[in-house]
């Protein structure tokens, strides 16, 4: 990579106290556990440290109680700078980790649909990026593209 889009990002100092011991995690917390440590494609920091994601950026709609159907998990991330050229990669890495985790298809009748977008106004081409990330065909083709996979692996390989 030649020049960094954001050479001096603000890095949040995190307390590693992650949750109350013994208490089961909510779905929102479980999704956050899956994505918080994804590494930024440009920096040796996590998405959480760079404030790209936090717990509140995860929005859950539960599936209907009484009938079969799906719920929704919506992650809206904030790129570090409004011209970040790697925003799509960040979105794809969030999608790939959540899909891999199996959290979308728990056992039983219910399942979840996933939507990943960047927050309106946080990127100069947010509309374009969100259209790309919402295009299931482009996303699945990206996951088969060796060049993109290589970058994605750099963001997620250190994760369990």
């Amino acid at each position: 990579m030649d020049a960094l889009d954001n050479p001096n990002p603000e890095v949040k100092v995190l307390s590693r106290e992650r949750r109350e011991p013994g208490k089961p995690l909510t779905l929102q917390q479980r999704v956050f556990e899956i994505i918080r440590d994804i590494r930024d494609p440009e920096h040796p920091h996590s998405l959480e440290e760079l404030s790209v994601v936090d717990l509140n950026c995860i929005n859950i709609t539960n599936p209907p109680d009484d009938s079969p159907g799906h719920g929704k998990i919506w992650v809206s991330f904030t790129p570090t700078v409004p011209h970040c050229s790697l925003a799509s990669i960040i979105g794809l890495s969030i999608q790939s980790k959540i899909r891999e985790s199996g959290i979308l298809n728990p056992k039983g009748e219910h399942y979840y649909k996933l939507k990943v977008t960047c927050v309106d106004g946080t990127h100069t081409s947010a509309g374009e990026i969100n259209k790309q990330l919402g295009d299931k065909e482009r996303v699945s083709a990206a996951f088969e593209n060796p060049k993109i996979l290589k970058v994605l692996r750099e963001c997620t390989d250190h994760l369990p």
């Binding site: 649909k113 919402g134 299931k136 065909e137 482009r138 699945s140 083709a141």
Partner: protein, 341 residues
Amino acid sequence: MGRLELQATLRGHVGTVWAVEWSPTGLLVSCGTDKTIRLWKLNPRESSYQLITAFSGNAFLRTTRDLSFSPDGRSLAVACFDATATVLELFGGKNPRFDPVVCLEGHDSEVKSVAYSSSGALLATCSRDRSVWIWEVGLDFEYNCIAVLHGHSADVKHVAWHPECELLVSSSYDDTMRVWVEDADDWFCSEVLSAHTGTVWGVAFEGAAMASVSSDESLIVWRRELVRNYPTFRVAARVDHLHDNGALCVHWKTLIASGGADDCICILRKRNEREQNTQSNEQITSNLTESWDVVAREQRAHTGDVNRVAWSPVHDNILASCGDDGLVRVWRYVDDDIQRG
């Protein structure tokens, strides 16, 4: 009103099933992320479907996205994300099998759709690379590219031929559809249709009319009419909010079937002349000439997006579908009004 009755669930694919198509004689073929082409046959005695052959080999390096049978049923074109389209020959007889006969190269990136013209003389392919290619089909599986069509400003998602003449429609991520025709060996874009406000995922013809579906959640019915002596597609009906999160596929055989990212299949029927008299105000003000009613909605046709719907060419009211849940399903549309008499 009507309903869809599930006839069969066909298991075997691993991961998303992207396309399902009928052969002219009523065989069913499906493909998806597992790079395998599966051919299914109805066993009429048990009214069940059985797998008769599966083809994978090393022919496909990535997801197989779309399928088209030639009108004689001998050739099956397969669109692949590895930037190729491959033609398989189907050998009949007691133990049918597929053999790859030609690999069409030229596109720069994912091939997303393939379609034989109704005469079988032409094959169209389209790609992420924004282009549409037209191939002439010669004897002995000889394919020559006769036109590379540029115009779309983003991925071309789908191609569909007019059933009676050599007119091609392509639909795109750029939210438009383009109509391509030939004049003295030159193919050119005769019309750009921009009634949708999102990616146009699918187009289906019946006669000179066509239906299109989009991530804007709507379905549009188009009729071809002479405007100043020039044939032009015009919006005849539009059904908004048909599929939450986007309509992904459409097929038309008297009834229109559609599928979407809401995991539903909808069946739509044109309101007849008599019913038509009760036109809605909306229709009168918008110059729409027809109304289409949703006569059946299968809420959870698949446990995931419905990627394709296809009416059987040989059986009445039989519909195949496939989805992100890895399943192929066969349905029968039952019209309760007719049954009641």
